[in-house]
């Protein structure tokens, strides 16, 4: 019998893999950014915006944020599935989390391309 739960994970292996690939993207981005910033003699508004004026930097930053949001979705969903048992509550929390992450995605594009 197929017994699928609407508020379950469905795709264990795929999400397991995405969790790790997105983690690697974030590791590479955060280590490079932290290294770059720590090597700067002085850091002011011009240096900071100059860095983000670069199209490659904006693209890599958006990639980082998208990886972060997907990573957060899988992580939060796993936590909810472990501690929240009623399906109705899960549905409400999942919906709120997904909506928040979609809004964050739109916001991220506005931040990076709307300055």
């Amino acid at each position: 019998m197929v017994n699928r739960i609407v508020v379950g994970a469905h795709y264990g292996l795929r999400d397991w893999l995405i969790q790790r690939v997105s983690a690697l993207v974030m590791v590479i981005y955060s280590v490079s950014l932290a290294g770059y910033l720590l090597l700067q003699n002085h850091l002011d508004y011009d240096v900071w915006t100059g860095l983000f004026a670069n199209l490659a930097m904006r693209t890599f930053s958006l990639l980082f944020l998208l990886a972060l949001f997907y990573h957060a979705w899988i992580g939060i969903r796993d936590i909810v599935m472990d501690y929240v048992k009623p399906a109705s509550m899960r549905l409400v929390i999942h919906t709120l989390v997904v909506l928040a992450l979609i809004v964050y995605t739109i916001w991220s594009v506005q931040i990076l391309w709307g300055m």
């Binding site: 983690a23 508004y45 900071w48 957060a72 992580g75 939060i76 990076l112």
Partner: protein, 124 residues
Amino acid sequence: MNKKRPKHLALHLIKLPLPGIISILHRITGLMLFFALPLLLLMLQMSLRSIETYTELQTLLAHPLSKVAMLVVLWGFLHHFCAGLRYLAIDLHYVKSLKDARNSSKIVLLVSLSLTIILGAKLW
């Protein structure tokens, strides 16, 4: 499997082993970082939008309370980062024995805490 057995889980007596502590902290810091997301995005926006919002953000972050909050977020990030790398190492079969599991847990705690102190001191 469905027998109704009495459970005697004396939670206050069960001591969580170190890898278990790392694991639950990985969850707690992950949740914490999720809740910090809107604030961090707002900070990114303020830092990039204009020189006025940039200076405003600098003033806001100069407050001792926000420094403590940023230090907590920094630790949360570094713990989640190091514990995550440990899980990747486990996936790649670098951690094979109970001894490895315990030692790598100690390294995670130590490295994330000392990086927090070093980076925190630099940013403070």
